[in-house]
């Protein structure tokens, strides 16, 4: 029982960065842009967060830097794909390489230093409740914020006029264009905002989860988030569930290690990656026609192309 509470209370903080990245990607993909660069943007966010937070000993400034760096990387991606109509997959891979390379280059000097970050809040008597206390009321502020963001994005996307317009851009850009929506501007904006979320996710990893910068610390979470988006069928509400599932699996690994059980640790570390693969298989079984996928995902739009 103690093990389960311990495990469950660690889950939200593993789920939050995945959720933030997935939200960013949903915003991207709902506008029709497939951004595979999440891993790179998260790496930049994590490093920017770490550098600024160390320099000013202010986690808040650090998180702002993470958001800005993610958005900047995304703007490069937007320039390539939305403005110059480059292939979105290649551009995404470029972003990943750029993120890995730049962070390796700039992060040399702060590897391993403990960072000032966001610690768990104390919600007075709520935090002392049995079971729900540690699981729900002993998380850090960013965790609460990320779940709040998910609800807000969902509400905006499905309950507001601008959200509807926005989804139209991904479903049928030529129709949206004919309705007076500036498709190029909308897509660019979606890419930048999505990048900001991915940068935030990276900042979370550095400032609210590990409190340390190590090269390669994103460790495939950007790619897992891309899988998560397919699992969540491009819906922010379902992304919450997906993120909790993946977070629970990731949280399990150090917990099992801590109990001293004799398990092959490297085989256990495969779990998040294998789960992603498994989840994609299950998702494709249930939704073979991909009915929820934005119809124009991955296709560059130019009015003159006559879609």
């Amino acid at each position: 029982m103690e093990f389960i509470i311990y495990w469950l209370s660690a889950t939200p903080s593993y789920a939050a960065p995945l959720l933030l990245a997935a939200l960013g990607l949903i915003i991207n993909e709902r506008a029709g842009v497939l951004n595979l660069g999440a891993e790179g943007m998260m790496a930049c966010g994590a490093l920017a967060g770490a550098l600024v937070s160390l320099a000013f000993s202010s986690p808040l400034l650090g998180i702002a830097a993470a958001v800005i760096s993610g958005a900047t990387m995304a703007a490069i991606f937007g320039g390539l794909t939305v403005v110059l109509r480059c292939d979105q997959v290649v551009s995404g891979l470029i972003l990943v390489a750029l993120g890995a390379g730049v962070t390796g280059l700039l992060g040399r000097d702060i590897v391993g230093q403990t960072l000032p970050g966001f610690r768990e809040v104390d919600l007075w008597f709520l935090s002392d409740l049995p079971v729900v206390g540690p699981v729900i009321f002993q998380q850090n502020t960013l965790t609460y914020l990320s779940f709040l963001f998910a609800v807000l994005v969902w509400w905006w996307m499905y309950r507001s006029v601008s959200g509807l317009r926005f989804r139209a851009v991904g479903e049928s850009p030529s129709t949206a264009d004919a309705n007076g929506i500036n498709v190029i501007a909308a897509r660019f904006l979606a890419v930048v905002v999505g990048g900001a979320f991915c940068g935030l996710a990276g900042g979370y990893l550095a400032l609210a989860s590990s409190f340390i910068w190590v090269e390669g610390m994103v460790a495939g979470r950007g790619w897992i988030a891309i899988g998560l988006v397919i699992f969540a069928r491009w819906n922010p509400r379902q992304a919450i569930l997906g993120a909790l599932l993946f977070g629970a699996i990731e949280a399990l690994i150090p917990r099992v290690q801590a109990t001293g059980m004799d398990v092959p640790i490297y085989l256990m570390m495969m779990l998040p990656y294998l789960t992603t693969l498994g989840v994609l298989v299950v998702a494709s079984k249930f939704d073979e026609k991909r009915s929820q996928e934005p119809a124009n995902l991955g296709i560059p739009y130019a009015r003159q192309d006559r879609h």
């Binding site: 595979l36 490069i76 320039g79 390539l80 110059l84 109509r85 480059c86 292939d87 997959v89 290649v90 551009s91 891979l93 470029i94 990943v96 390489a97 750029l98 890995a100 390379g101 730049v102 962070t103 390796g104 280059l105 040399r108 500036n182 090269e215 460790a219 495939g220 790619w223 897992i224 891309i226 899988g227 397919i230 092959p264 490297y266 085989l267 570390m269 495969m270 990656y273 294998l274 992603t276 693969l277 994609l280 298989v281 494709s284 079984k285 073979e288 991909r290 130019a302 009015r303 003159q304 192309d305």
Partner: protein, 371 residues
């Protein structure tokens, strides 16, 4: 809404335009990369010295460039043929890892007769690489699972498989590092050919390059492949065996990546370590794009890209710059190459005024009426 630029998709872009775009893309990329290096404290003379003189002309550097180019050539070929099909295999590192693991396993457990040991190691590596990409291609063809994610997830899994062995059964008890025992000198290593570290793996890679070139450029298979790449629907409609060609191509690609893993462990490292495979995937994609997916062009291009790594090693030694810098340089070059392609795909017209626009329209309508 007034957008001053008007884009016209080109129906046909002439060869010279594509060539100009490719060359200027590379030039812009190199200029940006040079700027980046100079910002990091390497002066221009130093850049020329390391990237041109040392990597390609000095004996030591050239030998290192050729031995780095050997696995790069294999993965570049793999990437060139599968990208032609728009199958995004970005798990090249994973397939190479599996190849390296399989080859090491054969060497460590002394499978088979010593005189055939190298051959068995190579075959095991090819099969392992093909199996590792076989799972994603199966999932894609049967269930439509996105291959980008599945190949990449399996890369992480492959690395963890290697870790599992290195921290477990295969660990060399005589050292405190997670490395396997070294391979037997006479039967499990690719021999040096007498030029620095260059080993017989380079002949294997060149042999594969000629084989793949024959398949792609002179054989029916390559024709099918190009047709499917251009339009899968069209290829299916004209009765080409689309699934078989796709599956075979992807498996060949995986086999080549596995072979690259074999070449690294049997020709360079002589053991399995945590660092035998790194950064192959992005290099392979860069090579394929610069070579325009042409297997013959992959040979010189992978040699040039290998030169970047040689220079990176010296920059690391003399300027304390990390190898990740080379990854940034590669990303910049590929980024500028694909952005300049825009000008060969579209004609950009600047709308000066409404009047001029009307004139153009009138001229166009006159032309069409004449036709």
């Amino acid at each position: 809404m007034s957008n001053p630029f008007e884009l016209m998709p080109r129906q046909y872009s002439p060869f010279w335009l594509k060539a100009v775009c490719l060359i200027s893309g590379i030039a812009i990329g190199l200029a940006l990369a040079t700027t980046l290096l100079m910002l990091n404290g390497v002066d221009f003379k130093g850049i020329v010295r390391e990237f041109v003189l040392y990597s390609f002309i000095s004996n030591r550097g050239l030998a290192q460039t050729i031995s780095t180019a050997t696995p790069l050539l294999l993965v570049g070929l793999a990437s060139a043929i599968v990208l032609k099909l728009r199958f995004w295999n970005i798990g090249i590192d994973g397939q190479a890892w599996l190849g390296a693991i399989a080859a090491s396993g054969i060497a460590i457990y002394d499978v088979g007769d010593p005189s055939f040991r190298l051959l068995i190691m190579a075959c095991a590596a090819i099969i392992a690489g093909a199996v590792w990409v076989g799972v994603p291609v199966f999932l894609k063809m049967r269930l439509g699972v996105n291959e980008v994610i599945s190949t990449l997830m399996l890369t992480y899994v492959a690395f963890l498989v290697a870790q599992h062995f290195l921290y477990g059964d295969w660990r060399d008890p005589s050292t405190s590092w997670p490395v396997s025992v070294t391979f037997d000198e006479s039967s499990e290593r690719l021999q040096r050919i007498g030029f620095g570290h260059v080993h017989t793996g380079v002949w294997i890679a060149l042999g594969c390059a000629s084989l793949v070139s024959y398949l792609m450029l002179a054989h029916r298979f390559g024709f099918f492949l190009s047709a499917i790449g251009l339009s899968p629907k069209g290829a299916r409609a004209s009765g080409l065996p689309v699934p078989i060609v796709v599956i075979l191509t992807v498996l060949i690609g995986g086999g080549l990546c596995g072979l690259a893993g074999f070449v690294v462990v049997a020709g360079q490292e002589y053991r399995l370590t945590q660092y035998v495979i790194h950064d192959l995937t992005f290099s392979a994609i860069l090579i394929a794009f610069l070579a325009r997916f042409n297997p013959i062009a992959v040979v010189p291009v992978s040699f040039l890209v290998a030169g970047l790594f040689t220079a990176g090693e010296t920059l690391k030694a003399f300027y304390q710059l990390p190898l990740s810098l080379i990854l940034v340089v590669q990303a910049i070059i590929l980024g500028s190459v694909i952005s300049v392609e825009f000008f060969s795909a579209y004609r950009v017209r600047i709308k000066v005024s409404g009047l001029l626009n009307r004139q153009i329209n009138e001229e166009q309508s006159r032309q069409t009426s004449q036709q």
